[in-house]
Amino acid sequence: MAEAITFHFDVDGENFTSAGNASVQVKRKLRHLGFPADVIKRVAIAMYEGEINMVIHADGGSADVIVSPEEVKIVLADRGPGIPDVALAMKEGYSTASDSIRSLGFGAGMGLPNMKRYTDSMEIDTKLGVGTTITMTVKVA
């Protein structure tokens, strides 16, 4: 039985151009580990969306990816403003991103819904003024 491996990434909140880098790196590691292509794709998309969210709304944060042969767990933690209404935030098309963010092509209100769609489970732990931690798992079928 192999032990789980944790990959840690700091997500830089000030640098929009590097958003998505952690996702690219995770994708590479999963490829090296020999995960099936569909698992890699689901992890990469969920992770990418989460990363972008942290940059847009929370001034960055950290991403931990815990990998075992059975599942890939992604823990995204930030010290942002928190999500006032999780149910509303989960609605497709709902976004609080600013116009300048939208002009970059982000803020379509599909981030959280996509994260849920591409993972097997997703938990949101959020406290206003303290931060948000999102834990997602993708099972290896």
């Binding site: 491996i5 490829r31 090296h32 580990l33 020999g34 292509a37 794709k41 990469a44 042969p69 996509n114």
Partner: protein, 430 residues
């Protein structure tokens, strides 16, 4: 396991000084330096030619056939890539180049740009179908197709399933030769491609997408350049030779293939590092809706190939002048008719995902190795100096775990070890 891919990029060991230029710049980390000489891992190499470009000692070379080889055939047809037309100064007619090729000893010429116009027509038909994966990615640059097959499983089905122009040109050239000369057999005919890059040489030598290639020889544009220049006269024969329009010539530089689709929903990128960034972004799904993506490994497109002579941007400027008075296309075999079928013979086989980077076929074992890589990586200085012979500290950690490098090859680790030993010695002296 994929069959071994044969490459045309190789190393001249005598010239290699073991410096780290190629090591650092190889976009797929295929190079290592062992015993003071570079070594290319052929499973990983995508023939992009960056190492040829960056080597200050000209130790990387691209192998191709020689002009003298055409004597092996009774009848030869030259297939010039459109980038060839951008290599000459004060050229106002493509026929000067084509006549030059005939004067060099070829019996006939068939321009790859003609087939490019055919591919443009077929691509327009393909894009009008609604049962296909979009964006459609061009199949013309073999570096890109190989890169996708090694790294991007989900993009394999986006690749245009139509043969690149060079294959279609070869096929048509052979058909035409047999028609014109019924006394010849197929073996008598030599189809000779004049290539701007080593990637196309490899692609053809590996049997263009799995099938037996119709191309018998591949010559390097730079190899024949001076021979061609010597015989080129700026006189026109009575009979026009070229049958190429603006579209065919445009294929030589980035954006030419995409703009020929008469559809503004396209992206055209060049330079292998830019291309990788674009592919990563499409793969992540965060991408604007596009119909077509043209990606070229070389800066500027095929005019930037490692076997060309002229600066790619100058070549491109010359092509602009050259195509000014040309019709849009001279090869309308496939008019924009969405009901038209793409002929079977012009289809290419599916691109299959064949990753090479997995640490082990057993996942538990792969994970144990990955843990070890992480541990070793933490011990390394993370400055990617390249002295150990691996391109990055992370790669070095991987190489140590894979058994192809020893931890003592890191000069920082060695220094620590020596300092420790020195201290212990001092200790003993006291």
């Amino acid at each position: 396991m994929a069959k071994e891919y044969r490459h045309s990029v190789s190393l001249d060991r005598d010239r290699c000084k073991g410096c780290t230029h190629c090591l650092r710049r190889c976009p797929v980390e295929a190079i290592r330096i062992h015993d003071g000489k570079a070594r290319i891992n052929s499973n990983r190499c995508i023939d992009c030619g960056v190492c040829i470009d960056v080597c200050p000692h000209k130790a990387k070379k691209a192998t191709s056939d020689k002009l003298a080889d055409i004597k092996r055939f009774k009848y030869t047809v030259a297939l010039p890539a459109p980038s060839l037309y951008g290599q000459f100064d004060n050229l106002d007619d493509i026929d000067y180049v084509l006549q030059g090729l005939l004067d060099l000893g070829f019996d006939d010429v068939y321009e790859v740009s003609r087939a490019a116009e055919v591919v443009s027509g077929l691509t327009r038909i393909y894009l009008s179908r609604d049962d296909i994966e979009k964006p459609v990615i061009s199949s013309a640059c073999p570096v890109i197709v190989r890169l996708i097959s090694l790294r991007y499983p989900y993009l394999c089905e986006n690749i245009l399933p139509i043969q690149p122009p060079v294959d279609i040109a070869a096929h048509r050239a052979r058909e035409r030769a047999l028609e014109k000369h019924p006394e010849l057999t197929s073996e008598d005919i030599g189809i000779v491609f004049i290539s701007p890059c080593p990637a196309k040489v490899s692609y053809i030598k590996n049997g263009s997408d799995g099938k037996k290639s119709d191309i018998d020889l591949v010559l390097s544009m730079s190899d024949i350049y001076f021979d061609l220049l010597d015989v080129m006269k700026m006189e026109l024969s009575s009979e026009p030779i070229s049958h190429t329009g603006m579209i065919g010539v445009s294929w030589a530089s980035t954006g030419g293939e995409a703009s020929a689709l008469f559809n503004d929903k396209y992206l055209a990128a060049d330079g292998i590092e830019n291309v990788i960034r674009v592919l990563e972004q499409i793969d992540n799904g965060n991408f604007p809706y596009l119909e077509f993506i043209e990606l070229n490994a070389c800066n500027g497109g095929c005019v930037g190939g490692m076997m060309t002579v002229e600066n790619p941007y100058i070549a491109k400027a010359r092509l602009q002048t050259l195509k000014r008075y040309l019709p849009v296309s001279e090869n309308w075999d496939f008019r924009d008719d969405s009901n038209a079928e793409i002929p079977e013979k012009y289809l290419s086989g599916p691109v299959e995902y064949a990753p090479v980077s997995a640490l082990s076929s057993n996942m538990s074992e792969a994970m144990a190795k990955m843990s070890r890589i992480q541990e070793i990586h933490k011990m390394l200085p993370d400055i990617d100096c390249g002295f150990c012979g691996s391109p990055t500290c992370y790669c070095f950690a991987e190489d140590v775990v894979k058994g192809s490098a020893d931890i003592s090859e890191c000069i920082f680790m060695l220094r620590e070890k020596m300092q420790k030993a020195a201290k212990e010695e001092q200790h003993e002296d006291q």
